[in-house]
Symmetry: C2
């Protein structure tokens, strides 16, 4: 049985990736990150799902005091864009996926994991530079430069949100337990980039989002 580290936020994409990795028979070790994100209630989702699946997880506390992004800075509003991903939005946290992968790399090397799974996707996404295929490729080259055989895999990278949801539905992902909204309030706002992409995905997949109360 091969080991995998899964970067796991409790959101739609990374939960789908976790179910995908399990379906491919990887023994999964999840890494969760508390980086003081406003929507850190996503970690409740992640822990609930990890417990449901009986997979091990570690929570990493991450403080980036210099970042003035809208996901962590209380003085900045979560934006509500009409057009998504036509520029880098204020919700971009500089270095975030680079750090997530680097913690994943350290974890993977220590436990002889073969793969680090990340839920990055570059079609229906917010326009973050650290979700693009060229970034994943460059990170894989970095890993190689260390003489390691670990591979970063981003199985959703070329999928639309609708395709991701269809894949996850086949894999029986409990989307009702996942959390996507950047605002982290009681209910999803339906207006932030993350909500909009999720709504669009379910609509295009012709499925109901079980996380939305009717």
């Amino acid at each position: 049985m091969k080991n995998a580290v899964v970067l796991f936020s409790g959101g739609l994409d990374s939960t789908t990736v976790l179910y995908y990795a399990l379906s491919k028979k990887y023994k999964c070790y999840c890494l969760l990150f508390n980086y003081r994100q406003k929507h850190r209630k996503e970690l409740q989702s992640a822990i609930k799902i990890a417990d449901l699946l009986k997979v091990e997880f570690e929570v990493i506390n991450l403080n980036l005091p210099w970042s003035k992004d809208a996901l962590t800075d209380k003085n900045k509003k979560i934006p509500e864009h009409k057009k998504i991903a036509s520029f880098i939005p204020t919700t971009y946290v500089p270095g975030r996926n680079t750090l997530f992968l680097s913690f994943g790399l350290s974890y993977a090397e220590c436990m002889s994991a073969d793969v680090i799974f990340i839920g990055a996707n570059a079609l229906d996404f917010s326009g973050y530079p650290d979700c693009r295929p060229q970034f994943i490729d460059a990170y894989n080259n970095l890993v190689k430069s260390l003489g390691l055989k670990i591979k970063v895999m981003a199985p959703l990278i070329h999928k639309t949100k609708a395709q991701i949801i269809k894949l996850g539905t086949k894999l029986k992902v409990p989307y009702q337990l996942t959390w996507s909204c950047y605002k982290g309030l009681k209910e999803p706002c339906g207006k932030c980039d993350s909500c909009k992409l999720r709504l669009k995905g379910f609509k295009e997949a012709k499925l109901d989002d079980p996380a939305i109360k009717k």
Copy 2:
């Protein structure tokens, strides 16, 4: 004036790099890391030197609970090798420089720094894969893949320890304030890889180490 982030441990190499960066007229912002290293007294040195130079610094707390390396694991002894760097020693902390650079990258992007300075060197070194030129090159390619113009610079990478000490002596580095010993006891042990490389460097440079009491 250009901004630079300096990965700064308070040891011989990174202190030399900090003085080098200042001599090149960079406004320096230091990043210090408490990763539960046994020799975290090096941080006292780093803070003393940063205060002396009146440069800003941030201390990052880093927990890698999975790592069983000899630098952080209380149950492992700091090794005393006869021959250094002929293999990867137990003091190697998987992912360490990748994480340090990734925090540096986040910091550099947020404050529009042009350079991240790192004291890595690959001649008189412990044999860590994340100190080699190919790793620094691969990290620079990773930064480029994000569309950033930040450059990782490792000005010591091809220098011997004696050359580093000669450079630092010219730059008036207060080596008496720096800390290198992995054991982190009251006085340097003189037997760990870090002490041995430092001793060899001062000997070859034909200089006295001002940190050693006679």
